[in-house]
Symmetry: C2
Subunit: 203 residues, 2 copies
DNA sequence: TCTTCATGACTAATAATATTAGTTTTCATT
DNA sequence: AATGAAAACTAATATTATTAGTCATGAAGA
């Protein structure tokens, strides 16, 4: 039974994603993807423009999955802070469950996914953030929140938090502290303070 | 004048670093590094074990530079919060000045630099953080601070903060908010709250 | 001065991959 | 049964990293 292997683009992307998660992104090769599908490497080119395009597709699937998880984690009944923390924890849980593909999606210098996907992903978090901080500040607060969550996860996944201690607790505490801080700033509606500090600095 | 080009390891690493910063990390090739030094690729192997080792060396230089900048930015006379913000701004300024090498140093999945270097880099920030948050929490607070700063910078460098607005301000505000939040948590010395929230969540 | 030898560069060769070009198999449709 | 498109294949090319073995240089000792 020679030829008819009958693969399609989605299967290829799914297989590549699995291989990345299992063997790491750096060792991914078109040959391996093809072999896993019972096919030779050049056959993939009928469905995928290049290895770069394949990685881009993998990254888009990863983001879509993360997006779906965040959607699942939203619970409109809870108060905004609890909702936000729930989203942060769901986000981190996803990254822990898919470390290789998460890192790949957010660090591939070129084959970054479509920006619209990122915007979409952030919607649940943004909605909630607008409730916590003042409207004028909500974009800044959102950016900092993403930075904190993404940064924490990246440091963890890159094994740069190796001095023991309870990382779950540190994450929850840091996110809580960040929220508490914006609550203060938001209610005082003083954006003068950070501005001033910025100008006071050396360098 | 044939052979004696006389290169050495430091020169090679410096040249590689320059090429990364100018042309990007993905297009770095041993051939280019060698050519820039008036030499052929195999000659590099007398000084460097492999391309991976070269990248590791580049990453260590990058971290050492960042470390030095942070040291310069510390001003013991200022109050802890101003000091911290100064460090955060210096950190971000470095990342903006060396985007390619910064990203490379923190995202190369394998050729990550020696962990001791990371610990060293963090010392100035850690010293100050211990003054701001309670001692018991200082490690957690430090981790969150690094996450926020590193995460913000990574999102910027990966062009994932594209919706306009004043990024300088957002950064300063977010760092300030984070600090303010820990001041609250620290003074209330209640670590029960985030703990509890963590357990209250859906999922 | 001549020889020798280590150093440091070189050329040539190998292996792994991505990618392209051209060929063959299969199978549905005439 | 013949044909033609679809989908796989094999063969070939280009780029790199890496290794093996060769040659030039200049200092140290005869």
């Amino acid at each position: 039974m020679p030829y008819p292997s009958q693969i399609d683009r989605d299967t290829i992307v799914a297989q590549a994603l699995t291989l990345v998660e299992v063997q790491g992104a750096t060792t991914l090769t078109l040959g391996k993807v093809a072999a896993a599908l019972g096919v030779k490497a050049p056959s993939l080119y009928r469905y995928v423009d290049s290895k770069a395009a394949l990685i881009r597709a993998v990254n888009e699937v990863t983001l879509a999955q993360l997006f779906a998880e965040l959607d699942t984690a939203t619970d409109a009944s809870a108060d905004p802070e609890a909702q936000f923390l729930a989203l942060a924890l769901a986000y981190r849980r996803f990254a822990h469950a898919h470390p290789q593909t998460y890192v790949l999606a957010f660090t591939t210098p070129d084959e970054r996914p479509d920006e619209n996907l990122l915007v979409q992903m952030v919607l649940p978090i943004q909605r909630i953030m607008a409730q916590i901080s003042g409207d004028g500040q909500s974009l800044a607060a959102l950016r900092g929140a993403l930075a904190l969550i993404h940064g924490f996860v990246m440091l963890e996944l890159n094994r740069q938090l190796q001095r023991g201690g309870d990382l779950d607790l540190a994450f929850a505490q840091s996110v809580s502290a960040y929220l508490a801080g914006w609550r203060v700033v938001g209610s005082a509606e003083s954006e003068a303070q950070p501005m001033q500090m910025q100008l006071n600095l050396p360098l």
